[in-house]
């Protein structure tokens, strides 16, 4: 019954999710599972970035700080406590709360500013977190980072630990995708798009924009922290690289290549970037240039932005929308012609 009421797109998304769940039965090599987990984790992170960039028009250069705060909070809690599900849940909770709190503070401090100031300030804030992580050695282990244990799974699940983590990250991605999609399709989400399009006009319709910006910044920060938690768990290790500007830039690239303001775009972007990262580096045996895969990627990125500014998903959506309006126009002219004929 529920299936009947579902929209076609929802069915397609669920079907793809289901197919992904069975993927490890086709290829269960360790590196492949690891690569897929990375794709899921970064897809979550990039989607949280899309809430800001694509749906509200906020450019942040410091999104890595939420990723890092999530990774460190979970890792530290699980390291200090005995590895159990309680510590895992507590670690996740602490990560999300701290992530939410920091994004709230950052939002209150900076979102009143014009967009480029916000971008600069978040960059500075993220730099500060990187510095703290490097210097506060007793807690963070400094540049070397630290490994930690994650709880053992009961019975035979322990033997398929990677598969369980794979499924867990996939499930998290699917749930968060639907959750964030719902937010963007709520009345609040529509106001966010209004803010992106013309913030002054939103005010003269009677919406106060600050609370919206802060709220979405908090939600985005919390989701980004969650992706940090998943990242730390998937590699059972954390070091200062989680605060690196490269993490933010990756999210930016994934979002833009996949399609800004689409949510599905960042997922596709994450897959493309992680796959090409992996395969292009592998080609290093053939020619040294592939070792510097970022050079190639930079060139492709520039071309993509010039020719497909809406990203992969955005370009496809526009094509579909155009076809739909054309068909509608055709239908109405046909109808009026028929009327005249009658």
């Amino acid at each position: 019954m529920m299936l009947k009421r579902m929209k076609l797109s929802t069915k397609v998304y669920l079907l793809i999710g289901l197919a992904l769940a069975f993927l490890p039965f086709i290829n269960d090599s360790r590196w492949f599972m690891f690569l897929m987990i990375q794709i899921f984790v970064f897809a979550i992170f990039a989607m949280s970035y899309d809430l800001l960039l694509g749906y509200t028009g906020i450019v942040s250069f410091g999104h890595a700080m939420f990723f890092g705060v999530g990774a460190y909070s979970a890792a530290i809690v699980m390291d200090r406590m005995e590895a159990s599900f309680v510590s895992f849940l507590l670690g996740t909770l602490v990560a999300v709360l701290i992530g939410g709190f920091i994004s709230f503070l950052a939002g209150m401090l900076t979102l009143k500013l014009k967009s480029h100031y916000y971008a600069m300030l978040t960059l500075a804030l993220a730099g500060m977190f990187l510095y703290i992580a490097e210097r506060w050695r007793s807690v963070t282990g400094g540049n070397d980072g630290f490994t930690f244990r994650i709880p053992e799974l009961p019975g035979f699940l322990e033997e398929h630990r990677n598969f369980v983590i794979y499924l867990f990250c996939l499930l998290a991605m699917i749930l968060l995708f639907f959750g964030m999609k719902r937010i963007t399709e709520s009345p609040l989400g529509r106001v966010l798009v209004g803010i992106r399009e013309n913030d002054q006009r939103v005010e003269s319709l009677g919406y106060r924009i600050m609370p919206y910006k802060v709220l979405i910044s908090v939600i985005s920060g919390m989701v980004a922290s969650l992706s940090g938690v998943l990242y730390a768990i998937s590699i059972r290790f954390v070091d200062t690289s989680v605060f690196d500007i490269q993490v933010t830039l990756d999210a930016l690239m994934m979002t833009i290549i996949g399609g800004v303001g689409t949510l599905t775009g960042p997922i596709i972007g994450s897959a493309i970037i992680n796959f090409s990262h992996h395969y292009l580096s592998d080609l290093a045996n053939i020619h040294w240039i592939f070792q510097r895969w970022m050079i190639l990627f930079g060139a492709i990125f520039i071309l993509a932005v010039i020719f497909f500014p809406n990203g992969i998903v955005g370009t496809i959506q526009n094509k579909l929308a155009k076809r739909k309006t054309k068909k509608k126009q055709y239908d109405t002219t046909e109808k009026s012609l028929r009327k005249e004929g009658a």
Partner: protein, 256 residues
């Protein structure tokens, strides 16, 4: 008669240029007032001071007897001051329908709902279609606002303002840049708002002929100063206005 909005010595200066200079005026409730004056007279700036886009250098603004000089745009909108913009100011990359829907959503105070799907508010969508129908724009409902012609964007502006259902409507040259066929539509829309109860309209227009029939009252701005204020007849007879603005015999001008 009660005044809905009142200004006292309202002044704003940009550097050395005084755009609005000591304007004191009372705009009566439920009346149609036109603000006329040549280009650069300070009409739009005067509107910006009423709707809160600009804060005055000195002077005060009162709305329904309360001082609102320090109120923000949001507070003024919520209190019932709505406006349309001369330079079209819509949400470009969303559909025409969505532009209106956002205005209705604000009026209905559905502002922070995170959990319901926006399409489940079907009444909003129906009303948006009705409003678009009034301004003859419904066939473009699903187009992106960025693809509208200039005249169509102006119609959208007016429909957005109507959607807010504010007591006070500030219309900034709603027919500027419209094709000749489109102007009567908009005038008819404005006339219809005028007929509704509890609506005060203030309209900026520099084509005096166009608004003479519609207006209950007129105010003339010239170089930022209030030159005259009164009924259309009084304004037409006013010698200063004739000299400064119309520059000739009133009977010749009116019937062109």
């Amino acid at each position: 008669m009660n005044s809905i909005i009142e200004t006292k010595d309202l002044t704003i200066a940009f550097g050395g240029h005084v755009a609005v200079n000591q304007v004191s005026v009372q705009l009566p409730e439920n009346q149609f007032t036109s603000v006329i004056g040549p280009n650069g007279a300070g009409k739009t700036t005067f509107f910006n001071l009423l709707s809160g886009q600009l804060k005055p250098t000195s002077g005060q603004v009162f709305y329904q007897g309360k001082e609102i000089t320090d109120w923000s745009v949001v507070e003024r909108t919520r209190a019932g001051i709505g406006r349309s913009f001369q330079l079209t100011n819509v949400f470009p990359n969303v559909t025409v329908l969505e532009n209106i829907r956002l205005a209705i959503q604000s009026r209905e105070k559905v502002r922070f709902n995170l959990f319901r799907h926006f399409k489940s508010y079907t009444a909003f969508e129906e009303e948006a279609h009705e409003l678009l129908d009034i301004v003859l724009l419904d066939e473009k409902a699903e187009s992106l606002a960025i693809h509208l012609s200039h005249g169509e964007k102006r119609k959208l502006e007016i429909a957005m303002l109507l959607a807010l259902e504010t007591k006070l409507l500030l219309l900034d040259e709603p027919t500027a840049g419209m094709s000749l066929e489109e102007v009567p539509t908009i005038l008819r829309v404005i006339e219809n708002i005028k007929k509704q109860e509890d609506r005060t309209i203030v309209l900026i227009e520099h084509k005096m002929e166009m608004v003479l029939d519609l207006s209950d009252r007129m105010m003339v701005l010239f170089n930022g100063e209030l030159l005259a204020e009164g009924t259309p007849e009084e304004i037409m007879k006013n010698e200063t206005v004739q000299e400064a603005y119309l520059g000739g015999d009133p009977n010749e001008r009116v019937h062109t």
